[in-house]
């Protein structure tokens, strides 16, 4: 048990960046878990008498919006949705891209060319454009959005996994394994996957951040979260109407997004630094 803990903590010691990122992430996870408890008010119900009370008003940490709804509670209640979308889409992309990437690396010839063409084609098309169209047609909502984002972003993983797999498969210890007549699945599982882990960790982290931004961007354009779900993108969109009357309405979600994404990036940087150090 302790040994495991040590091995988990060792890298944190190695890179302060990573430690910082991990700490920040831990904080976010706590917010996510305790979200319900930390909400001081019902995020959907507000008292019109209290509308537009500025940040710092007694009882309203971040102030209230145009319906007197407590912004702090709303920001909190927006978190799970955004994070959920990002998670689902990332996992989908990882599974799809990872598998295809490995296949492309292992099996030369047609599979490789086809997959690579597919990857480049998809990558060379602006994701947001596609997302806007798909969502506009398929409709808003958690699953359509998550799946759309996942399907649009799998090439990111495919490309990295492919490149890294090629590198690993060219290593002598893989050749050695082949000389020992170790069968392909065993090589992929025993030698390739563990080798991919660090790279995947890095890409996953950054991609997660990208997905968060994508979600908020779409919600911001009114094509993400359904009505009434106060995701941060949606909050930003609403806040724009009150630029003058209630600037804090924009400040809160904007800061939230920036903070979350930045802390995830910190983590990602830490991980990639670690990976580079390992090489």
């Amino acid at each position: 048990m302790r040994g495991v803990l040590k091995r988990l903590l060792a890298p944190l010691k190695a890179s302060p960046q990573l430690a910082l990122g991990a700490a920040a992430l831990l904080g976010w996870i706590l917010l996510l878990a305790l979200g319900g408890l930390l909400q001081t008010h019902d995020p959907q119900l507000g008292d019109l008498a209290e509308r537009f009370s500025p940040a710092g008003t007694a009882g309203h940490l971040l102030g209230t919006d145009n319906l007197g709804r407590d912004l702090w509670s709303r920001v909190l209640s927006g978190l799970p949705w955004s994070v959920g979308v990002a998670t689902v889409s990332c996992i989908l992309a990882l599974l799809l891209g990872g598998t295809l990437g490995m296949c492309a690396a292992q099996y030369q010839g047609y599979p490789r060319t086809i997959i690579n063409q597919l990857v480049d084609a998809t990558l060379s098309f602006p994701g947001l454009v596609a997302a806007i169209i798909i969502v506009a047609v398929a409709g808003r909502g958690f699953w359509p959005l998550s799946i759309t984002l996942g399907l649009l972003s799998w090439p990111v993983f495919a490309r990295v996994v492919y490149a890294e797999s090629l590198r690993l498969l060219a290593q002598d210890y893989v050749t050695a394994a082949r000389v020992m007549a170790v069968n392909t699945p065993r090589i992929l599982l025993g030698h390739l996957l563990p080798g991919l882990r660090p790279v995947l960790a890095v890409v996953f982290t950054f991609h997660f951040a990208d997905m968060l931004v994508a979600e908020s961007a779409l919600s911001f354009l009114g094509l993400g979260a359904p009505l009434g779900v106060p995701t941060w993108g949606a909050l930003l969109q609403e806040s724009r109407d009150f630029l003058i009357v209630a600037p804090w309405l924009m400040a809160a979600p904007a800061t939230a997004i920036a903070l979350l994404v930045v802390s995830i990036h910190l983590l990602g940087d830490g991980l990639s630094a670690l990976d580079r150090a390992r090489r």
Partner: protein, 538 residues
């Protein structure tokens, strides 16, 4: 050689690194005008650092902690970056080990040369260009004008090294520092570049760094032997080579091919007729490659013999090995294993019949696996023994190759190059194959380690009656250990036969060249023993 104040004088030079502590311990060194001074030692001895320190080029955190450095009558340790920069290239020119890495791939040869010339000698671009062409001509590079417009990747390794030399000499520095200038090159090219250096050196003082004692002894006037950041011994090359005083020097000399106390690896007794592997008209062509990597190669390896595949880089040695090992598909009729019956064997059977050890001990072991798992991999794959026995089996193998079994749960990173090679060997032996392929298995190792591994190989060979297919670029090694030698050139066999015969009366021109090239500038290599040496300065 005038004895008056030598051009380069290093006195008690010490270099510290913030973390690593002291790396150079009061190194003192002289190099007189027109003299060729050799700096010899194994990797990590501090040779390179010492020379880089001369013009304050020591890598970032390192700093000179003491001592003095004079070039002519100028003391350099006190000068700061700004003051040193104009001296670099004018006081001393550098030639580095790996010519392909030492030239900026995205810049034209010309720009490097010309700018360097303009920078120091204050020439106009036009004059500088003329100077550059001269410089290239002086290193005997064909058509220098067009070379100026070319990029490094358009030249061969030898040509690149010539360009490096031209670059180092373009500002006519009195001192030329060559750091392993020929290590990365094939034998033939090596000797030609050395000839060139020799000729150029007449006008300069040459400080040459090498790990190859034989070469140093043959090429230099005086030698400094470094070990662990210290100069352990120095003196005229011939003396130091014939009667070394320091143990370390002696151990180096003893490890030289031909001098190794290790008895030759030849089986001695008449070899059995049973061919373990037979190659008939083997031809391999890579996708998109112009000509075949291996073309129409015939040979066989019989039980209990040592065969050496010799050839320069790109001669197709490795390709043949991989074809034998089944990593590269070969036509069934071109490759057979008579010992295993007539029909082509299954992968598993072939694997247990033949195993392989690779050149690079760093990439041939999975860095994420503990040694136990690495060595156990073949055992598990082929269920050679029950799980409980496994540990014992691995332990036995490790101790056989001279490693402490208690370290079996460490990862490769915890082991030195030589030790890793031992691990790789243990893994190969786990299958107890009858034929072992060693693909340049020694060339990445320091000379003493080489000798040890060689000894180990020999013993194991003896006790297991292994057949050995040794792949190497080093003729002397081949002649030393091989029963039979096969000389490859551009994927074709030019000559094969008993080692002694091939060495002493080579039939093919190429073999002769190869032998000559390897012997040139080297003391004590097999063919030179008892013969009159080339004496420097003549």
């Amino acid at each position: 050689m005038n004895a008056s104040a030598p051009l380069l004088r290093i006195r008690g030079l010490c270099v510290d690194f913030p973390r690593g502590g002291r790396v150079l311990h009061d190194v003192s060194l002289d190099a007189a005008e027109g003299e060729i001074v050799g700096l010899v030692g194994e990797s990590g001895a501090g040779k390179t650092l010492a020379t880089l320190s001369i013009l304050g080029l020591a890598p970032a955190p390192g700093r000179i902690a003491g001592g003095k450095i004079f070039v002519g009558d100028q003391e350099l340790t006190q000068l700061d970056e700004e003051a040193l920069r104009p001296l670099r290239g004018r006081l001393a020119g550098f030639v580095f080990q790996d010519p392909s890495a030492s030239l900026n791939p995205v810049r034209r040869i010309g720009s490097a040369l010309i700018e360097s010339a303009m920078r120091h000698s204050g020439l106009s671009r036009k004059q500088a260009r003329k100077r550059a062409i001269e410089a290239l001509r002086s290193v005997e590079l064909p058509e220098p004008e067009s070379a100026l417009r070319a990029f490094p990747h358009q030249f061969s390794g030898g040509q690149r090294q010539r360009i490096m030399i031209a670059l180092a000499l373009i500002n006519r520095p009195p001192l030329l520092i060559a750091d392993e200038p020929t290590t990365a090159l094939d034998a033939a090219v090596q000797s030609r570049v050395l000839d060139l250096l020799k000729r150029r050196a007449r006008r300069h003082t040459l400080l040459m760094i090498t790990h190859d004692l034989a070469l140093a002894a043959g090429f230099c006037d005086r030698l400094y032997v470094m070990h662990g950041g210290r100069v352990v011994e120095h003196g005229p090359a011939r003396e130091l080579f014939s009667q070394p005083r320091h143990n370390y020097t002696r151990s180096l000399l003893d490890a030289l091919p031909g001098r190794r106390t290790t008895a030759p690896m030849r089986s001695g007794r008449p070899q059995s007729r049973e061919a373990l592997a037979a190659v008939r008209g083997l031809t391999v062509r890579y996708r998109g490659a112009a000509q075949a990597a291996v073309e129409n190669v015939d040979f066989a390896v019989h039980a209990n013999e040592t065969v050496c595949l010799v050839g320069e880089s790109g001669s197709g040695k490795t390709t043949i090995a991989r074809a034998l090992a089944g990593v590269i598909r070969a036509a069934p009729d071109q490759l057979s294993f008579p010992a295993l019956g007539d029909d082509p064997p299954s992968a598993a059977v072939r694997a247990r019949h033949l195993q392989m050890v690779f050149q690079d001990p760093y990439s041939s072991l999975n860095p994420r696996w503990p040694v136990e798992r690495i060595v156990a991999e073949p055992i598990r794959t082929h269920r050679l023994c029950s799980r409980p026995e496994q540990k014992a089996r691995v332990a036995a193998l490790l101790s056989r190759v001279g490693l402490d079994p208690r370290r079996m749960n460490r990862r490769p990173a915890a082991f030195s190059g030589g030790q890793r090679q031992r691990i790789a060997l243990a893994r190969a032996l786990a299958m107890n194959p009858r034929l072992l392929l060693a693909d340049e298995a020694l060339s990445a190792l320091d000379i003493r380690t080489q000798a040890q591994i060689l000894a180990l190989l020999r013993d194991i060979r003896e006790e297991r009656k292994l057949a050995l297919l040794l792949i190497t670029h080093d003729l002397s090694l081949a002649s030393e250990v091989g029963d039979r030698v096969i000389v490859l050139r551009r994927g074709r066999i030019v000559e094969q036969g008993p080692a002694s015969r091939v060495m002493n009366s080579p039939r093919h021109e190429y073999t002769r060249e190869l032998l000559a090239a390897q012997a040139r500038w080297r003391r004590g290599s097999p063919r030179q023993q008892g013969r009159r040496m080339y004496t420097p300065g003549l």
